[in-house]
């Protein structure tokens, strides 16, 4: 009989252990942002806003996004050079820098890259904010860099054929070509006074971002392989400039541990007294 009781107790412990394993199985691994969002970490030192090869970029988390040919607009292309882009972001609380990195077999004057953002709270179609049949949608803000220009351009659009430079130019960009890879860094203040035209970054909040790349290699016709709407694109992904560290959740957790421990001790004491 005593043996049976011991076996029963082992079952009890085993069952609790199994339940523990089940709970552990329910604990999901940390959410990976690598394929859906660009996360710009907060740096204390100088921001590598004009140096795509700065060592500081190695500290930024990297996200990779697949690229497709632009097929939405009739002037399209079906095969593009850039199959994916690697993206990193950093900010210092005042300015934000975004590094775009992609393979390109040759350096050409017409090589170009761009970032696209929604403006304000109004959703926009990723294709240049093209108005929808039943919904107008909002404008988009495009940061554009072209190798031969050697600088960034701040553009806006609300539908195909409406792309134009903003009256103000807040965006800086610099590209470096090394070993078959373009590294292009874009930078701008997190917030600007042109809220109707520029995307505004609020640390800690997610916004939308899309990418475009043009391979400017000349074809036999003398024209760049990719130009205008013939380009590699992505649809919308997410971007977030990290908020400053917030330690309050640790404080709340510590308080909760203390309360739970107190409750537990009081309960056991009461039970012992009762028994």
């Amino acid at each position: 009989m005593a043996r049976v009781r011991r076996v029963g107790k082992r079952w009890w412990v085993g069952a609790v252990g199994l339940l523990g394993l089940c709970v552990a199985a329910e604990v999901q691994p940390a959410y990976s942002q690598q394929s859906v969002a660009v996360r710009a970490g907060l740096v204390k030192g100088p921001l590598p806003a004009e140096d795509p090869t700065a060592a500081a970029w190695a500290t930024a988390s990297v996200s990779e996004f697949p690229m497709s040919p632009q097929v939405h607009w009739p002037v399209r292309i079906t095969d593009v050079t850039a199959k994916s882009v690697k993206v990193r972001g950093l900010h210092d609380g005042t300015n934000v820098a975004i590094l775009l990195e992609y393979s390109d077999p040759s350096e050409d004057p017409d090589d170009a890259a761009a970032l696209e953002f929604m403006v304000g709270d109004t959703k926009a179609h990723f294709a240049h904010g093209q108005p929808m049949a039943q919904v107008e949608g909002g404008p988009v803000n495009i940061w554009y860099w072209k190798n031969k220009d050697g600088k960034g351009s701040d553009l806006g659009a609300k539908g195909f054929g409406t792309l134009k430079p903003h009256g103000h130019q807040d965006v800086k960009a610099k590209g470096v070509y090394q070993g078959g890879v373009w590294k292009v860094v874009f930078s701008r203040p997190l917030s600007t006074e042109h809220v109707a035209e520029d995307t505004q970054f609020k640390p800690g909040e997610f916004g939308s971002i899309a990418f475009a790349v043009w391979d400017g290699k000349k074809t036999e016709s003398g024209q760049p392989k990719e130009k205008g709407s013939e380009k590699a694109i992505s649809s919308w992904w997410y971007f977030r400039a990290d908020a400053p560290p917030d330690y309050s959740p640790y404080m709340y957790a510590l308080l909760a541990v203390g309360l739970a421990l107190g409750f537990e001790m009081a309960l056991v004491r009461r039970l012992k007294k009762g028994s």
């Binding site: 029963g8 009890w12 339940l19 959703k123 919308w236 959740p249 541990v257 421990l261 039970l271």
Partner: protein, 241 residues
Amino acid sequence: MGGVLIRPIILTVCIYLFLKFIVPILPHSAPLPSSLIFLYLMLVMSGSVLFATLSGESKDAFFQPILRFLTGESGGALSSARYLVLALFPLLVGWQTYGSTASSDAPPGENRTIHPAPPGEYTGLSNPVPKTPENIMYGKGLYASRCAPCHGNFDGKGFAAAGFTPPPANFKDPTTIAMLQESYLFWRIKKGGVGLPVEGMPWKTAMPRWELEMSDEDIWKVIMGEYDGAGQKPRTWDESE
């Protein structure tokens, strides 16, 4: 006496294992969300407690092992387990508190209506093009040049599909064109991504507005080629209706 407590624990664990690992592999099934599994387990545990406390005797049999465990009267290996539980409980509470107060690293969720309702003028249209082998072949030819770069061999895996999210539709999947009428496809092909209504958010689809490049007749032929190539049939009104 401990058996009264062991049975509900084993039952709960078995139900959990069934919901977590067996249900997803059943035919026409899918993995259950954690919240639903949690709800089912709560129901099982509530039922077990109700069952175990129907009489005073069974109530004592149910709670006594718990009380003995918590007060350390069980002794033996359970004594070590008691310290473990007493240490883990506050840590679990702390972990949950942290999880509910720390800002999330996950981007906001998006509600997406996969097949939003078409405008009235595109409801119930029938394909005016005769379903002849020639028309089907012509439609497949148009499909190969216009649609295949993204939609591939009717499986949504075209060479240009990688960068698009949501991915191009897989026409061989029984939940796409097989459950839609031809008129619905006509609307989606003709008006493309920008033809989507408000509920068709988040407006990421790259589907071209083919009315700019194809006649209505060609679009109907593409639809025929699509169904034929994917081995699907369009949904139709029941003839008895």
